[in-house]
């Protein structure tokens, strides 16, 4: 195998760059072929895993229901995922955002978003009709704390009939869950349950229970810690693909160890490393007399 000289420049900096962005250390060392190869292969595999797991296989913690509320558990797979560097770092920020006070069940900002869901009489599934439109929700001070009120303007999906519904917060005893889901949660859809106060436009006999979801912005769900029900939903729907998605992101992190080590030490074979100043090292041999 012919030897080639590689100028590793500042090895620790190259290793750090390769950790942050796979292949970046090699590109800094002007080893473009390997840099692009590591970048495409490792980030490609990481991206494929994220895509297969619907954007959710990377998370620091997850929460399961236990005695006295939610129990926080560590996702040890993240130790491998974090080796991919910057691409896995949002999970750390999202973990702290998830636990911060900004993440609340209360409606801190008005919502004005496209909505998809159903309207039905109480819990009677037979009476439900699919609705689609734009929902606007506002928090107003009420006697028992914050109250939510709003409007839905849209259409009935089956008939295409336009509807305009005045909404209020459901009575506590009729709530299936909270009226509006957490601001920051791993689900791209934010749950909404509201009560139809008045049908301003639409057919008679429309139910009073409006259940559906609005889109959650990417920054409020991507790499956010998962909750028990979300994990079960992903496992149930994706099955082995969820497991494979996790494995792909772990593998990408483990493969990046090779890229980091290559940036720090050079390749294992076929190399005569150069010094930091770009001069060849002395070939091994007997010490001078």
């Amino acid at each position: 195998m012919p030897t080639v000289t590689v100028d590793l420049k500042t090895p620790w900096l190259a290793a750090l760059l390769s950790w942050a962005i796979p292949g970046a250390g090699q590109i800094y060392q002007k080893r473009y072929f390997k840099g692009i190869l590591f970048l495409v292969c490792i980030l490609g595999m990481f991206g494929l895993g994220i895509n297969m797991g619907e954007g959710r296989p990377v998370y620091v913690n997850y929460y399961v229901a236990g005695e006295g509320g939610l129990l926080k558990k560590r996702n040890y797979g993240y130790l491998s995922q974090m080796l991919v560097g910057a691409a896995a770092m949002p999970a750390i920020i999202q973990s702290s955002r998830f636990e911060s006070e900004e993440n609340t069940w209360r409606l801190t900002q008005p919502i004005d978003e496209p909505f998809e869901g159903v309207v039905r009489a109480g819990r009677d599934v037979a009476s439900q009709q699919a609705v689609r439109g734009r929902i606007s929700l506002n928090a107003v001070p009420g006697s028992g704390g914050q109250q939510i009120e709003g409007h839905l303007v849209g259409t009935l999906v089956e008939t295409g009939e336009p509807i305009d519904l005045k909404l209020s917060q459901p009575p506590r005893e009729r709530l299936d869950s909270i009226p509006v889901g957490l601001r920051i949660s791993a689900d791209p859809k934010r749950h909404v349950q509201m009560w139809v106060d008045q049908v301003q436009q639409g057919p008679e006999g429309l139910g009073e229970n409006l259940i559906g979801s609005v889109a959650r912005p990417l920054r409020n769900w991507y790499q956010v810690p998962l909750q028990d029900n979300e994990l079960q939903d992903l496992n149930g729907r994706l099955g082995k693909r969820w497991e494979l998605a996790m494995v792909l992101t772990w593998l990408a992190g483990l493969l990046n160890i090779l890229a980091i080590w290559d940036a720090f030490e050079g390749p294992a074979y076929g190399i005569r490393p150069a010094t930091a100043r770009g001069e060849d090292r002395e070939p091994p041999g007997p010490a001078p007399q």
Binding site: M1, P2, V4, V6, R31, F33, K34, L37, F38, C41, I42, G44, M45, L48, K240, R241, L244, L248, L251, L255, L258, A259, W261, D262, G266, P267, A268, Y269, G270, I271
Partner: protein
Amino acid sequence: MSTLFPPLLASQIPTLFYMFPVTAVIALVYSASRYEDAGAILRKSCRLFSQISVFLVGILLLLYVLTVKL
């Protein structure tokens, strides 16, 4: 697809196909960490890819033969 393969195996095929790109990526990254020359990296990774693929397909066939009567 299900006419050619038993239903259980047919349902596994889409997931199984991921083994080829995954194997290719592993072979490329591993070889790139061993060699510096682009030609050597590609040659060695092709060889490694073939070896791993033959091994995995062999295991798959063995498991299939062992479970075909179950």
